[in-house]
Point group: C2
Chain length 164, copies 2
Amino acid sequence: MKKHEARRAASASFLLAQIGAHAASRFAERLQPLGLSPPHAGILRVLRGSAGLSQQELAVTLKLHPSRLVAIVDELETRGLVSRRENPNDRRTYALFLTETGEATLAEIGRIATEHEEALCASLNKTEREQLAQLLQRIAEEQGLTAGVHPGFSRMGKKSPPAE
Amino acid sequence: MKKHEARRAASASFLLAQIGAHAASRFAERLQPLGLSPPHAGILRVLRGSAGLSQQELAVTLKLHPSRLVAIVDELETRGLVSRRENPNDRRTYALFLTETGEATLAEIGRIATEHEEALCASLNKTEREQLAQLLQRIAEEQGLTAGVHPGFSRMGKKSPPAE
DNA sequence: TATTGTTATACTCTATAACTATA
DNA sequence: TATAGTTATAGAGTATAACAATA
């Protein structure tokens, strides 16, 4: 079977969807050794910036259904990465905090993210990467995407065996 | 609850995953009025370039499981967009072709894709879009992504109610 | 015996909504 | 009565693998 000759000009939108899915998938793979999924990492990251959030607030921030968030927070708590503290003012809610282990894990995730970025953008030099990031940033803003919130969190499950 | 101040510098990889998921989701929405999903569109597009492919070959090209491809081709055939012709040389296989309706639909998909591209890149001018496309193209090539094959096809189902 | 296309089964995941405790 | 968190149920979707026909 003959291969398509080289690569034809593709639209930016298709390339974005294609590379985006690839990037998300690879990042998830890199996270697997830690037993974490991208949503886990997202929660840890938000919690570093806004400690003490309730699950309700966290669900709104990350646009996750509360029922789904419960399971993820349960896992994070079981692993000792996040702690639920009781709220004296409203005993219905929990205030969520990173534990020390959680912070250490988050640092490790940061290293993984850096490696991931490096691998993904290996074909671009520093200037080009900044150029790319700036263009993407403008698209993200104009499209109304919230910083740090991945629309695909809803579907980025726990285990996605690397096809074949 | 206080909003995060403005948008902090995000990594290119996160932006790619974020915008990529957004782009894929929006494109799927635009396709919905036609009753088609991105995988449907992908098959039609491949078939235009390589008419007469067998399902097996198509499955390999698009990296879809044969069992899944059957269902999608069934739908396309039912809608009269694709026809299965018997292969005299090997009666186990079908040769797949676009029908006239299929070609017309593909043209419509092309218009939709153009609108989509326009909407997604509204914040960039022509030069910037080309710049972006070039950078993305280089990443795609270096990452070994096949032209026209979306890794997320496997997961881009039929109906994904536009969450509010 | 190997391969194409197909069908059937099982499994995973997500959302809906019912439930408990507190406000 | 309304809301936070939780749990249970049901629904959708995918992959695994068994099956029939042909090579």
